[in-house]
């Protein structure tokens, strides 16, 4: 991950030139400035993921805070051969958000609060977000849109609702075997479509 090279938000940091994995390495040495740099690179991504799961920015910010605390505590367990730091952080944030979704039963109030919050939603001003981020986001969106609707649906329910395949089968009134097949096909296509992005993360 060399996103810092093109991220305008990261330019003031003395750690801006470091790769993500090097920042995680510095976290093991208890360097808070490394956390701050990772925060500059990924806070809006993680907030977006958590907000899409939980529906409110307030809950999403709580999740992002917990994510960085967990990353700080577990930095020594991070293995760069297993996953890129951005995937590691996304999966922590997703997992924490789904835990919160279940434990607080925010699912019900999500819709109501999301409606209220629309006016207060903070999004980056035009041009402030890094170009690489927008390009990657566009490619992911395009790859997902290439999938048949039912395959996209199973991925979104699994990733953003934390549903098991059995739950998806119930929710969509589809045989479990069909849900499994759709998930596998969707992931294979996604991996093919995003091979360039994946290569960048390896």
């Amino acid at each position: 991950m060399t996103s810092a090279d093109t991220d305008p938000l990261a330019s003031p940091s003395p750690l801006a030139g470091l790769e993500d994995a090097e920042l995680v390495q510095r976290m093991t040495a208890r360097r808070q400035d490394a956390v701050a740099e990772l925060y500059r690179r990924y806070a809006s991504l993680l907030l977006g993921v958590a907000r899409k799961i939980l529906g409110t920015t307030r809950d999403a910010e709580e999740v992002v805070q917990e994510t960085f605390v967990q990353a700080w505590e577990q930095a020594d367990q991070y293995d760069r051969r297993r996953a890129s730091p951005s995937t590691w952080l996304v999966m922590i944030a997703r997992s924490r958000a789904i835990d919160l979704l279940r434990s607080r039963e925010v699912r019900d109030r999500t819709a109501a609060e999301a409606g209220k919050e629309t006016r207060d939603l903070h999004t980056s001003p035009e041009g402030a977000r890094a170009v690489w981020y927008e390009e990657r986001r566009e490619r992911v969106r395009s790859a997902l849109n290439e999938l048949p609707t039912e395959q996209k649906e199973v991925l979104e329910l699994a990733f953003y609702q934390g549903m098991t395949q059995r739950e998806i089968a119930r929710e969509t009134d589809t045989p479990l075997g069909t849900v499994k097949t759709r998930t596998l096909l969707a992931m294979k296509k996604l991996r093919r479509e995003l091979r360039q992005e994946i290569r960048e993360l390896l």
Partner: protein, 311 residues
């Protein structure tokens, strides 16, 4: 979320199933699953699927954090653990205050003098060492890239092979279906041209709702094998269906021989290798859907009880 992988499973699919487990692991288990040892399966393939999952996060609309969030996080970290104060990357450590005294670095000349090796020899050796190290790093990265490419191509090849197998299976099924259809046609042709075959014309009764309908029932000499061809029937509608009956025995008891639908202008062909004993007549009625097991209730659209031979 996923089944346990069984013996002989495709490595690509096994990697994918392993990656999908991360989505169903809860809480901290999820990150542990992400970081779990997976040396027994293809690590490159697993990594690719994990990264694909991570990229799904980019599908969410990014949200700019409020200004206080970073401060809250850093405060939480400070409360979590006393931070070790270390210099930033741009700041060099002050050697005067270093707790571990480091001996003053000697000049290259002094160094070469003290070791007895000329300075230019040391410089050349240093350059060679740097060049060799660079070459090793470059070679290693090239090897890694080649491995990744190879793994990707192997996965694509497996996908192609799977597609080819599916196409072969479909082709085999199509060939088998065509053979069956051809066999059926040959059998019917044999039946309608056999001199021992009897012919029973089916005609609409006087009050038939479909007076244009016509049918011919061919009955083999064994009085078991039969073939029916019907033309001129109209689509019966959603709630009704056509049903063929054989009237058997002296009392002409109606026995259900099967139902069928028909589309506009379609010629219906039916056949079987069994016919009830002592069949005296055949007729087709229009019945309500779901009335199987009951006797004929609907109007008779075709009826035949006259049998003639080809000769």
């Amino acid at each position: 979320m996923t089944d346990e992988s069984g013996p002989g499973i495709d490595p690509d699919e096994e990697a994918l199933l392993r990656a999908l487990r991360v989505l169903e692991a809860e809480g901290r288990d999820a990150t542990e699953a992400l970081m779990e040892e997976a040396d027994e399966i293809d690590g490159v393939l697993l990594r690719r699927y994990l990264e694909a999952l991570g990229l799904l996060g980019f599908h969410a609309e990014p949200v700019e954090p409020t200004s206080k969030l970073e401060e809250r996080i850093l405060t939480a970290l400070a409360g979590n653990e006393t931070q070790r104060i270390e210099p930033g990357i741009a700041e060099m450590p002050d050697q005067r205050t270093s707790p571990d005294p480091i001996p003053p670095r000697s000049s290259p000349e002094a160094s070469s003098r003290s070791s007895g090796v000329p300075y230019w020899v040391a410089a050349v050796l240093a350059l060679l060492t740097v060049g060799l190290a660079g070459g090793l790093v470059w070679g290693s990265s090239q090897l890694s890239a080649q491995r990744e490419l190879l793994a990707e191509q192997e996965a694509a090849l497996r996908d192609l092979q799977r597609g080819l197998e599916e196409a072969r299976e479909q082709q085999s099924a199509l060939v088998a279906a065509n053979r069956r259809a051809l066999g059926e046609i040959e059998s019917r042709l044999g039946l309608v041209t056999d001199l021992s075959t009897e012919i029973c014309p089916l005609r609409p009764p006087s009050k038939s709702p479909i007076p244009e309908a016509r049918g011919v029932l061919y009955i083999a000499g064994d009085h078991q094998h039969w073939y029916l061809k019907v033309e001129g029937l109209e689509p019966p509608g959603e709630s009704r269906i056509y049903r063929l009956w054989f009237a058997a025995g002296a009392e002409q008891r109606p026995l259900d021989a099967g139902s069928f639908r028909v589309s506009e202008g379609e010629t219906v062909e039916l056949g079987s290798r069994t016919m009830p004993e002592e069949t005296r007549a055949a007729f087709i009625t229009m019945e309500p859907v779901g009335a199987e097991g009951e006797g004929p209730k609907g109007p008779v659209v075709l009826y035949g009880d006259e049998v003639m031979t080809v000769l």
